[in-house]
């Protein structure tokens, strides 16, 4: 039985601190923002990977959960907590809880749906959420939500987002390798056989949705406080697809793969941006080609179902 051993944890912690210190004192704010973005992307990728990779429930609604988290946390800090940044961890959790409730509501009618049909339902859910915020003037409607309280310092932002990523990873990874994860693998492969073995599949799917929605909401809240501005358009269909790309590239079912892929796909567009192309923006051509190549050469994703350690 493998589990994250203490010395590995120590190693991760030390490298985390080292990266933080290097970013703070040696690198500019552009790179710093990118590092935080990467961690948020990783949280989103993990949340989707759990529901789609492990439980095989195709969700295209992560952006919806994300939006709920972002708006909830932003409104709470602005309206009730006088824009004090030190309440962000609390309001982010509240955002995650709101997303979880929504996750429950989505999961209720969805447990009989599979594959493409479930994808359509979750996509519809995300659209409903988006349109709801689009028509809600209090949060800026289509103009977006301005002046969301931001973290005051890079290191604070880095620390809390890192903590959130750590929590997300530990919870989902431990679930994956536990009895619950085994139930999900079984229903991933053959729902009928899983049911006959006594696995309550509807209940298991519901719980998988709850966990996924919780962390998607958490990621969304952090996204809002990281950027300080977002609009309903930030949480459109493209966002859901982008999260899906992270999870698929890393390997559906591989938690560390999701983090790896989030890292690569956050950095890659920025690296391509800096290439000397004589004023030509070839970024949007190279990026998709690289993705297509990767999926041809390694359709199961970078890590398949395996973990890095």
């Amino acid at each position: 039985m493998n589990f994250v051993a203490k010395n590995k944890l120590l190693f991760f912690f030390i490298s985390f601190v080292a990266v933080g210190v290097i970013c703070q004192f040696a690198l500019n704010s552009y790179i710093q923002a990118l590092v935080v973005s990467f961690m948020i992307n990783a949280i989103m990728a993990l949340s989707l990977n759990f529901i789609t990779g492990v439980a095989n429930q195709f969700s295209l609604g992560q952006a919806g959960f994300m939006a709920l988290g972002a708006y909830t946390s932003a409104v709470l800090t602005k309206v009730f907590l006088a824009d004090q940044w030190y309440f962000i961890p609390l309001t982010a959790l509240a955002g995650a809880v709101v997303a979880t409730v929504a996750g429950y509501l989505v999961a209720l009618p969805s447990f009989k749906l599979r594959g493409d049909y479930l994808a359509i339902v979750t996509m519809g859910f995300a659209e409903i959420v988006r349109v709801l915020f689009l028509n809600w003037n209090f949060v800026g409607g289509p103009r977006g939500y301005n002046g969301v309280v931001k973290w005051p310092e890079f290191l604070i932002s880095y620390g809390f987002t890192g903590l959130a990523l750590f929590l997300t990873f530990m919870v989902l990874y431990h679930l994956k390798i536990s009895w619950f994860g085994r139930n999900l693998w079984a229903l991933n492969e053959d729902e009928i056989a899983a049911e006959v073995m006594g696995t309550p599949i509807a209940k298991n799917k519901r719980f998988a949705f709850l966990f996924s929605a919780f962390f998607a909401g958490l990621g969304g809240a952090l996204y809002g406080h990281h950027l300080g501005y977002f609009s309903p358009a930030s949480f459109g269909f493209l966002m859901s697809v982008q999260i899906l790309i992270f999870a698929v590239l890393g390997g559906l079912g591989s938690m560390s793969g999701s983090i790896l892929a989030a890292g690569i796909l956050t950095a890659l567009p920025e690296i391509l941006r800096s290439l000397p192309t004589g004023g030509l923006d070839i970024r949007m051509i190279v990026f998709p080609i690289l993705l297509i190549l990767l999926m041809i050469l390694r359709p199961q994703g970078l890590l398949g179902r395996k973990e890095l350690f």
């Binding site: 039985m1 589990f3 679930l175 085994r182 079984a186 492969e189 053959d190």
Partner: protein, 258 residues
Amino acid sequence: MSAPTKMLSVENLNLSFGGIKAVDQVSFHIFENELLGLIGPNGAGKTTVFNMISGFYRADSGTIKLREDVINEYSPDKVNKAGIARTFQNIRLFGELTVVENVLLAMQQTETLGWIESLFRTKSYRDKEKALYDRSVELLKIFSLDHLAEEFSRNLPYGLQRKLEIVRALATKPKLLILDEPAAGMNHQETEDLKKLIHFVKQKFNLTVLLIEHDMKLIMSICERIVVLNRGIKIAEGLPSEIKANTSVIEAYLGKRS
């Protein structure tokens, strides 16, 4: 000796798909520790009866009782918890899981494992996992599959996959084991082995077995009693020797002599 108790009783079961009566007033029962065969030509309704017992179809009317519990309305996982395990005609193992994980998955459903302890992977949780793992390997050992424990189950040869499916069913600690055409696609030697395996399982785990099968030789040689279905209706019931001599059974299989 007192009269044997009934393990499973099926009473006046009906099910129609649209205008077709797939199962029409079927009644039979299985005594405790009995090996009952359910046979019939293609389309006789065997699998439909089977799917109603295991909770995939709801009967239009009639009752299915496991000992004293009416299990008609149970979902498949509840049927399993009540004590009925089944295998599939076309093998349904979890191919991407290892052999031992297949068994572990079935076995863990009989345990209560908590959320918090699995999130923190506490010492006691790891011990429980270890114990479950050891018990799974032990069960595999009985069927001499333990040397394949860490193999992906999709890599197993056909005969062993069938065997593993039976082991996995046993891991849920059933009282009644239902085998759906276990000899399908097997050669003569494999069928002989299967026969021994069924006897062995029945003795060792003190089980009641319901066998659905096409292979007449297998059915006639191991079943204690046989129920014959044709076009959704029970046409005969009795000892293998009686079934062999029953004219309506012969007619159902071979047609009427002109």
